[in-house]
Amino acid sequence: MEFDISEEQELLQGMVRQLVENECPLARVREIFEGDSGHDPELWKSLIEVGLAGTAIPEEFGGAGLELLDLALVSETLGNGALPGPFFGHSLAGLAVLLGGSDEQKKTWLPRLAMGDAIGSVAFAEEGSSWQPEEWTLQANGTLSGAKKHVPYGSIADLIVVGTADGGLALVERSGGGVETEPVDGADRTRRLDDLIFDGAHCEILPDGQRASGRVRDAGLILLAADAYGGAARCLEMAVDYANTRQQFGVTIGHFQGIKHQLANMAIRVDPVRFLCWYAAHAFDKIPDESERTAALTKAHATSVFMQTARDTVEAHGGIGFTWECDVQILFKRAMFDRAFLGAPAVHRERAAVLAGW
């Protein structure tokens, strides 16, 4: 019985943290946040160079062969740095091909995704907050016609894993034509979204897609939760830094119990989420019976905590916290993304209730 990450996993997180600090400090995040595409090919290349694009893709396909726990640890660290770019959707697309694809599909796509030769994404949501596999209605009969919403970096992704009617999955190559993208004016400008219109786009069914789609969703919930923990921890750190810097009445405001207690309340909600995320990821890897429900509860909990922590962090910064210029807003909007993507906390709490037999 040992509940801790390994030395290798600590090294992995340290390596990613270093990369984020070197390649994309908050000043750079802000430039990308303000930019048109929300994507920095140079930054993405630096992730690929250290193997992050294929973190959970098996070594035989050119990936690092790690598990979801490792991927979640990477997500946590990227979330802590508010790192912009397609990492999240790309990682889920790789998992979808791995878990649902034929040998042929794996051989074709996994090496390309792992090496970063192709950017992957997932198209799950439909009109009416329909994120879950059982809610998908898009028919796939060799071709796809219809709409998907909120596709991460849908306009630059080379390979899109589309959720289809009956909870299946299909692959669409964007270069194959029949795919129109319409940018979403999203709050989180570090993770851009596009709505997709398919008009007779050629698609390939993933033979195990129906079995894989719930697992891919669960992985997505866990990665969002891990990102949320990383972001919430960053918010807390920013609020503490501010309390140790800003002076009023001749002392730093951290002297005042009003601030100190608010920050302590934030900390007792934020810090435990780290371990909940580890557990959810570990359950995904090793405890299949608990995996689905734990993923749902963890996503609901972690993203709620992130959202509330971001709100508290704005408040703790006073007037400056409410400005566009203050970096807290970037984290705040990451929290909005984590909270809503794949379904809001209430959706997953109700799913957890159903799964518990309540």
């Binding site: 019985m1 040992e2 509940f3 801790d4 990450i5 390994s6 726990l69 807390l236 503490v240 309390a243 140790n244 002392v251 730093t252 951290g254 002297h255 005042f256 119990q257 601030i259 100190k260 207690h261 920050l263 302590a264 309340n265 900390a267 007792i268 810090d271 435990p272 989420v273 371990f275 909940l276 580890w278 557990y279 570990h282 090793k286 405890i287 734990t294 509860l297 963890t298 609901a300 909990h301 709620s304 209430a346 709490r349 109700e350 957890a352 209730a353 518990a356 309540w358």
Partner: protein
């Protein structure tokens, strides 16, 4: 990361099960003995087998086992399943014994530890005073060395279990000329003497768990002091490293959830079972999220402890997190019991059951009783100061700096 026990521990589990099948509940002649004797004999065997008092050396009545959180967890699970007596809880076992092991004289260890862990003598903790709560080090109970005895005068308050206690481990000001913290000594005091008067305090629940204790020329021998004169403050803060071996208690943070879900199943809300009510379902799942996050924080902390590594600031948060969740659980329980929330409540013994309140009266008591968790042993606002200052690196507040 490995939450399984592995074959080695499953083998160990079978040993524990075999022991329990043999030993609890008592059979034959032993079943006719008074219950306390049954428990006594069982504990003797449990120690002999290495399952109880694992962190206590053999010569003081323990089984002196190597710290092993997995074994401790297996023992806990199997003993609970069998309804067998576990290691005792309470201030004597959890606070005094580790303090004696760390700082006590040899004769003190020999005299006090074994009867304490067997439950033959009971202790109360003489810390808080009417004028010294959060600012404990301002305490004024006086100890004066007269000949070979300490003469003790003053008053303690909120003293849990004093009405049943044989002895008190007590913080007393013995060096009045020294600054605040340096003037305190840690004395052991016999409660059965004319100079000690115990008055139970009636709580808002109607029960009396704690007391006022008045010392009027109470006496204790010169050498019933733990540590040196003036070291009492430090002695009372002795690192509880002896607790390590029993630290993992798998499922402790989620243990009240089943009682809450049961309550939702048998309660009615808006004309149908409360468990079907969307708001209740949301709240249950929300509370469970907090519980699970806490559960795995505790497991992480225990793992780090066993490895001899610093778990970091999460360890400062345990008390506040537990009392916050306890209050959320109690409030949700109150919501669910409906009209029974008009009633006076149930017995004190129902409070703080590890498996949660079992009937509506107990939920009323828990509703009130959960506040005790936010007050006792360092109020929540004091916890927030500790987390802010020691955990987050915020400055000490002005008042505390002045009083230093």
């Amino acid at each position: 990361m490995d939450l399984s026990y592995g074959e080695e521990y499953e083998e160990f589990r079978r040993e524990v099960q075999a022991f329990l099948a043999e030993s609890w509940p008592p059979r034959g002649d032993e079943a006719q003995l008074p219950q306390n004797e049954q428990i006594d004999r069982f504990r003797e065997r449990g120690v002999e087998a290495g399952y109880l008092s694992r962190s206590i050396p053999r010569k003081y009545g323990g089984s002196e086992q190597e710290a092993d959180s997995s074994k401790a967890a297996v023992i806990g699970e199997e003993f609970r399943r069998a309804g067998a007596p576990m290691d005792l809880l309470g201030g004597g076992v959890s606070l005094l014994v580790p303090t004696l092991l760390e700082r006590g004289e040899e004769w003190q260890k020999e005299k006090f530890i074994k009867p304490t862990i067997r439950g033959h003598i009971r202790w109360c903790q003489g810390y808080s005073e009417p004028g010294s709560g959060s600012d404990l080090a301002s305490l004024q109970t006086k100890g004066e060395l007269v000949g070979d005895e300490w003469l003790i005068n003053g008053q303690k308050i909120w003293t849990t279990g004093a009405q049943f206690a044989d002895y008190c481990f007590c913080l007393v000001r013995t060096e009045p000329e020294q600054p605040k913290h340096a003037g305190i000594s840690y004395l052991l005091i016999d409660m059965h003497q004319p100079g000690v008067e115990v008055r139970p305090l009636k709580q808002m629940t109607g029960n009396s768990g704690f007391n006022e204790v008045f010392f009027t020329d109470a006496r204790t021998p010169r050498d019933w002091i733990v540590g040196k004169r003036g070291e009492g403050w430090l002695v009372s803060r002795t690192t509880l490293k002896h607790e390590r071996s029993g630290l993992i208690n798998v499922g402790q943070a989620t243990s009240q959830l089943p009682a809450l879900v049961d309550l939702a199943r048998r309660s009615t809300r808006n004309g149908r079972p409360a468990i079907e009510d969307p708001e209740i379902r949301q709240k249950l799942a929300e509370v469970e999220g907090f519980m699970l996050a806490n559960e795995y924080s505790l497991r992480y902390r225990a793992t780090k402890d066993i490895k001899g590594q610093d778990p970091g600031r999460i360890q400062l948060m345990a008390k506040l997190i537990r009392s916050d969740i306890g209050q959320e659980v109690a409030k949700l329980g109150m919501e669910l019991i409906g009209d029974d929330g008009l009633l006076a409540g149930g017995a004190a013994s129902e409070m703080g059951r590890p498996d949660g309140p079992q009937d509506n009266g107990a939920w009323v008591t828990t509703y009130m009783g959960s506040l005790a968790g936010a007050i006792a042993a360092g109020s929540s606002n004091i916890q927030r100061n500790i987390i802010g200052e020691r955990g987050l690196g915020l400055p000490r507040d002005a008042a505390a700096q002045r009083g230093k």
